[in-house]
Symmetry: D2
Subunit: 398 residues, 4 copies
């Protein structure tokens, strides 16, 4: 007997749940792209995006996904054969490096594994060795969607500064923007990349590169080709240059609505705090479940975890069984293992808790996982969901 | 700080949550109403509605709400000045009687209060007294949305039969159809009324009268007027008579999709079982919460509760505070007190658990109520949500 | 080869084309019906509806179609066995009378046929004969959707006044409201009925009774039954009385948006003028087509035609062929013959030109009919579409 | 007085009108991107896209617009410093060349102006001169959206063959695919690029590169970088490689629906024929209008015109006035001048007639332009719209 006859709940770490209002905003006829309201709508997006990123720099909007802006960020700032240093903490920074390698960049990786954050000291040490200044950029993800680690961006910035190194600091906030606190200018990121389909609550298809004056300077020495070139996108003579061709009309409609919600109704800081509270609720539940020894958070210290997604490690095969039960018996879709060895595919699951999320959604996901553990006979500590509801209620997490 | 930035969850006892597919089916241009696909679509609804009601009788579809079909059912079967007997168990049967009174029917009420179901023996006793056969119909609701009582329809039918009385047996399934088991033919209901906006998962605006041969016979002696007349609606010479005028085009689109889900994908019996399981989960949580003495189910015996809604009684004012916290802090809307003295408005709340509902939605509602109790400092027993998740998992309810 | 692969164009006289914005407004989750924004939204509808009807009287909103409010209007004002006088000018006034007959009203009909408007003098004569004041109400449609005649409401009012008769004057504006000029108070209508699915641009399912003090007085002597009673709907103690039960949530969303467009963006008078211009364009085309003798307008004098729909008479069978060609070859749906003898079913077609309509839509319909005439070899005068475009351009109609 | 209160009609040459069904298909929650139905849906698109392009080759789907696939096509096949030959016939081929220049390709242009198609003989002559085989590719658009010229793709292919040259033949069908007949394999195109927002009836945001074995061979000698690399997109080891990262979920939903309409309901050849007929109707109207000397088609010979868009030249400033009148008085949006000198901005307009288009839409556009000419007092020949309706009817165009 399946109980799966209600509204499916998607709790994967992106694409996240799209607000009904955003979908409705996209359910519109094609507009004129050479005049009329679309122009003003488009222009209104830039300041709001910068508000989200906490920057007074520039932002280029690309019709692409995260991989696209990984390439855009590198093509605008680093030349083939130049070196970048990747701080790998799971899956995605290394892939970013792979994109660079694909067009000839010399990619050096410091691998911190999939269960800890990047160590500032190791970064500092490596940069100090680079007397010749060959390292043009340091690449890191704020939140690795696979491992659910959160890197300490200010600390890494300080490490670069302590080393007195001139490398650009490039941060991937694809999974974390509008979820984890991020302060582009204050924290000294020179380039930041993001996508629309996670904390920005818009169907996948737009991505962003934010950049500051230092990055602009670097751009003078590169040739990104026309599509990735951020200059024409941010200093256009005519409208269509903003998108290097036809504008992504319906995504612009959607993003406008999403930014209305995020920036003008909730507020970015309030959104961070909401994510913090809801993530703490997940972790409180996980602590209880884990007490019986069959589950554990992939990242031990809560301070090293992103508030956008939580990776859970299980006994052999349990994660696969939990995901299946939740999806087919209850209508809850959890995230698969990513970035782990293939033979561990069913030993990890991820709970996405990013974007358009409130207590009924979050506690519904946790309650369903609790039901799955019970249905599958996976021994677990008691009181998990109530530990979560206690955090939601505003009580200190345990 | 509000956590209310996700998808609102409506847990009132109707209108219930409309499946996305139903809303999408209604997002269509106006169709031709004199030819084309609308005709076939309309005709396809009748057998499916009968499948839901478990009847081989007739069903008339009205553009109206439940009050409309209350009036339709009476206008087609009972004349002004004739008597009907109302079995009142909360709020709605008495109101049905009120509709009859409004056009001159002699309404006699047996009031069972708001915390118990109608007693078959009392019905039998009353009917036995009616030697003259003045009582033309017995009116009862299967599930009273206000009190959340469920009346025992087969037992009441047997009471009528034991009394050897000829009254029609008229049942209101507005809140219960497709939630609580109901067998129109097997259980001997002569007339049954229902609406589209609860178990049938369609926006409010359509309602139904099901009737059998005995009711048809009664119709020969009444004059309902054209709009309520079920004859032309069920034996039309031309299409528009089915709706006594312009068809409710978009509601027909929506209802078609909803019946596809209910009848052709899940199946009516499976839907009953799902509701039973999910209601049991609610009750398991409520039992735990209640153990501290501050909350209690309005209907003591689970066998007397509808599986569509649960009315909860609280200490003075607590229900109002719980509703407010859930709505404004978390995005969960609970049902208000209905059918209780005005001064008790904040001492009862209702959890709707009807229609388009799965474990993440239900456990999300219960988890949020649990958070409200904690946030508001209302003492409650522990383990409520997990008692619910245990039932969801298929374990025996406690 | 079919060219029918674009957006279908519906040019029937109701349901009319629903604006995308109205459909979008209805694509929403179910709201709370006991509190929250729905209450304010509902209350905001009444003044706007009165603005459309040009009245300071009352308006009751019914979940029903036009037939429902026909019955409501009569049930609230006339008792069974009392007499009403129907001025029949096609199809719909007589049907309204039929609704009255169905519950015992004594209906007298003056039949003006299907090709002319009601003659004020005949009305005056008849009322003068009624020395005893037996006629309680005079019923007329402003625009008969079948014949496309427009009755002269002010002239009929004057006829009643000249006769010095006390009958209520009840006008059906179902097809004409917000299309043809109508001034309820100034023109002295006591009761007016309308639906949402024509000039009000909302999917079928709501209908309205407007009434003044004289009608209110009549209500004191009737018993409409609860559902049709306009008292509780217009003087409610609690919200749900406005709809005698569950509110039609999604239709209210839709109507709100439609009234925003009609009342707050275009303006009612501008809408009348737009309809006048577009109707004149239809008639200019029809004049040209007709010059070859194979088509003719059903109503000879333009001043007697409604601006909402035009009935066209053809040679035997041509109308059916034109409708078929337009629908299957081109994606244009025209209205069928209504109110004519069955054997003439294919000898009349109707062009709906009501509500959400602009030049591309109207000229697209006319151009397609022109193509049909050519494809089918039906001889017709030249220059029809350009005669229409000339009117659209603001030139005098021919 | 504005008549602009109906459904706006967009008649620009892309983005074109999106079918309601496509918009509805995109109005869906985010799906899982690592499993479930999205995978199968995605895979189903490839054969249908190839059916549209008439090829048994490969197709890579990009989250991008037309400029993106211009770059993708060149990056996969031509190296910086290598030469391509651009046949410029208006605006877009030259821009494609500009994209190549942006990353260092040596672009040679033969400019045929904006009013004629590319001459095969000139191409042949130039290729014969290239004894060294320095020209790696010949770039041409099938239909130039600015000038509305259609190039003769088979004749150009024959010119290459006659010259015995080995250059790849790369065709831009962005504006013409599914409108003008195009036979990738039969006509010998090696690479073809297209977008989703014109004949494919999907909101802007996806674009396509089709390629054959010869192009695959060229790819072995290039390094496009990861995002543009068509290898991983067409020979993926895991699903996400198809899109080099996160899939464009909602656009895939939309494209699936659009291809259902185009490939499985209408059929590609029928779509071509529909476009031919409707374009002929436009031209018949334009011939008549032009007879007074104030308007003219930009491309003289109908055989050299694309069936997707028609560029119209007017007297000084008239085009601007026509566009304004149509948009503000009537709700019809026409295309602006593109590719002409800036001072001619108001001397050309374009009528888009591509994609989701039927007679009421097309004749509505033409009728409205006719009204504009009359309203603005621009002298024009008579009988234009009827010349169009005659073509729609199936009569020979004049």
């Amino acid at each position: 007997m399946s109980l799966n006859f209600g509204r499916d709940l998607l709790a994967i770490p992106g694409p996240s749940i799209i607000p009904d209002r955003v979908l409705a905003a996209m359910h519109k006829p094609s507009p004129n792209i050479y005049g009329g309201p679309l122009i003003d709508l488009t222009i209104s997006l830039y300041p709001d995006l910068k508000t989200v990123a906490r920057t007074s720099g520039e932002v280029a909007i690309y019709i692409s996904n995260g991989h696209g802006v990984w390439e855009a960020a590198l093509r605008n700032t680093v030349n083939p054969e130049e070196k970048v240093l990747v701080l790998a903490t799971g899956f995605f920074a290394e892939r970013w490096g792979g994109v660079g390698k694909s067009f000839g960049i010399d990619v050096e990786i410091i691998d911190f594994g999939a269960r800890r954050d990047a160590a500032p000291q190791q970064l500092e040490d490596r940069l100090r060795q680079d007397k010749a200044g060959q390292i043009k950029a340091v690449l890191v993800v704020q939140a690795d969607t696979a491992s659910s680690v959160k890197n300490d961006i200010p600390a890494l910035r300080e490490a670069i500064d302590r080393a007195g190194h001139d490398a650009m600091f490039m941060v991937d906030c694809i999974a974390s923007l509008a979820c984890d606190q991020f302060e582009m200018d204050k924290w000294g990121a020179d380039v930041m990349v993001a996508g629309c389909q996670k904390g920005l609550m818009t169907p996948a298809g737009l991505a962003f590169v934010f950049f500051n004056d230092k990055a602009k300077e670097a751009r003078k020495h590169t040739n990104p080709g026309m599509y990735w070139d951020w200059v024409s996108r941010t200093e256009p003579e005519v409208y269509y240059q903003r998108f290097c061709g036809t504008a992504p009309t319906h995504h612009l409609f959607g993003l406008r609505e999403a930014l209305d919600i995020l920036v003008h109704e909730e507020g970015v800081e309030a959104a961070w705090q909401r994510h913090e509270r809801l993530a703490a609720a997940v972790w409180a539940a996980l602590d209880r479940w884990s007490s019986a020894g069959n589950l554990e958070p992939n990242i031990a210290a809560p301070s090293n975890r992103t508030v956008a997604v939580t990776t859970v490690n299980t006994k052999k095969g349990d994660a696969g069984r939990i995901r299946d039960w939740c999806e087919h018996q209850a209508g809850l879709t959890l995230g698969i293992a990513l970035g782990f060895p293939l033979e561990e595919a069913n030993d990890h699951f991820r709970i996405g808790h990013m974007g358009h999320l409130n207590p009924p959604m979050l506690l519904g996901a946790l309650g369903t996982i609790d039901a799955a553990l019970k249905a599958l006979g996976i021994d677990h500590g008691e009181g998990a969901v109530e530990a979560a509801s206690s955090v939601v209620a505003g009580h200190k997490s345990v």
